[in-house]
Subunit: 217 residues, 2 copies
């Protein structure tokens, strides 16, 4: 039997992003939910019209679920959450709470952390005025997250898709030592990434890209 759910990601990526490509968020959710899925690789080096038809920014991941195709990791996780109560509660109030934290992860925290990570990764001077502004923007958001995470284990009651997204966003900040002043955020990342579903998702992603190396060697 072929699984209904197909996760599309690149066939290969360079070393640096391995373990951080956004298909990891989707793998993690699928593992938490115990939903069967197949992984399909699409060319990293040549992105054709079929790729752009599914993902208009030429990125990954996207999923297909029968005749439905969904891109954007946030939208994919909301879609999967409709298929499993391990990812989101069924009542209106619980769903609203998870949904607001899903958007908070992507539109309040990642909107500050990803530009910051671009500057860190490209070794932008930490004396520059642009660094000061964007680092300040991130620190403001982390300060508020620190208050929230000091008082709770997960963002919205039980573990949910909101935690997958927030932990993955903060994990990239942690990779570049950006959580040194935020112990509750750091502990939250450690707590989330200790989950077996995350461990399997990361190992599977790394093995997927390593297999491409082996095939080309």
């Amino acid at each position: 039997m072929v699984a209904d759910l197909i996760l599309n990601t690149f066939d290969w990526v360079p070393e640096a992003p391995r373990g951080y490509v956004r298909d990891l968020r989707v793998r993690w959710a699928l593992e938490e939910a115990g939903l069967p899925y197949t992984v399909r690789g699409v060319s990293f080096k040549e992105r054709d019209a079929a790729h752009f038809a599914h993902q208009p920014f030429g990125q990954v991941p996207w999923i297909t679920d029968g005749d439905i195709s969904v891109f954007e990791s946030g939208a994919i996780l909301m879609h999967l959450a409709g298929r499993s109560d391990k990812l989101m509660p069924g009542d209106a109030r619980g769903r609203a709470e998870v949904t607001e934290w899903v958007f908070a992860a992507l539109n309040s925290v990642e909107m500050a952390s990803l530009p910051w990570a671009i500057l860190v990764f490209s070794e932008e001077s930490r004396e520059s005025s642009a660094w000061e502004k964007l680092n300040g923007f991130l620190r403001l958001r982390l300060g508020h997250m620190e208050s929230v995470l000091t008082r709770r284990e997960w963002l919205a009651g039980e573990f949910s898709v909101a935690d997958i997204l927030m932990a993955d966003v903060l994990r990239l900040v942690d990779r570049f030592d950006g959580l040194a002043d935020y112990p509750a955020c750091h502990a939250y990342v450690a707590r989330a990434t200790a989950r077996p579903a995350f461990q399997k998702a990361r190992a599977d992603q790394i093995a997927h890209f390593a297999a491409a190396d082996a095939a080309c060697a």
Copy 2:
């Protein structure tokens, strides 16, 4: 009769952000849907514990709908979309399509445009390496949006919450002349903001803040 829906926004803001405060997205959606609502002002100058209990980043807007409280403009629009088929179609495929574009607006385009706007607004030098990186990041995303918007009127079939968010995100870029090389994006913003619901939402937001000036004069 008191409307069930209460939109919470600041009681006052400085001149510069007026017409661009994020409660506008919510007002716009409520006007499109024809849902009755009440606007409640919360202190801009002193943000208390009650504010943070509803909006953990100390920002606006948030809504209350009976005993449900929702923050994050994306989450609020998804919540309202559940109450009106003028904001999102009812079928699973249509909902998935709108949802992916909601996230694309906030997590693919605004994640590039808001940091860019911070640098523009603070008059960061356009010779700096940080500017070059973040301006390049935005231009990459706008190039893909240009391809998409050359071929369609609205993002996901009929006008939806995805268009409210994408048009509002691109409108801020347009304010700072960032769409000069992207005529389809510019035309899309013009098309969206010509809608009576947007016009009313903006006029109402500006009047709301102007009333606070008058009260303090």
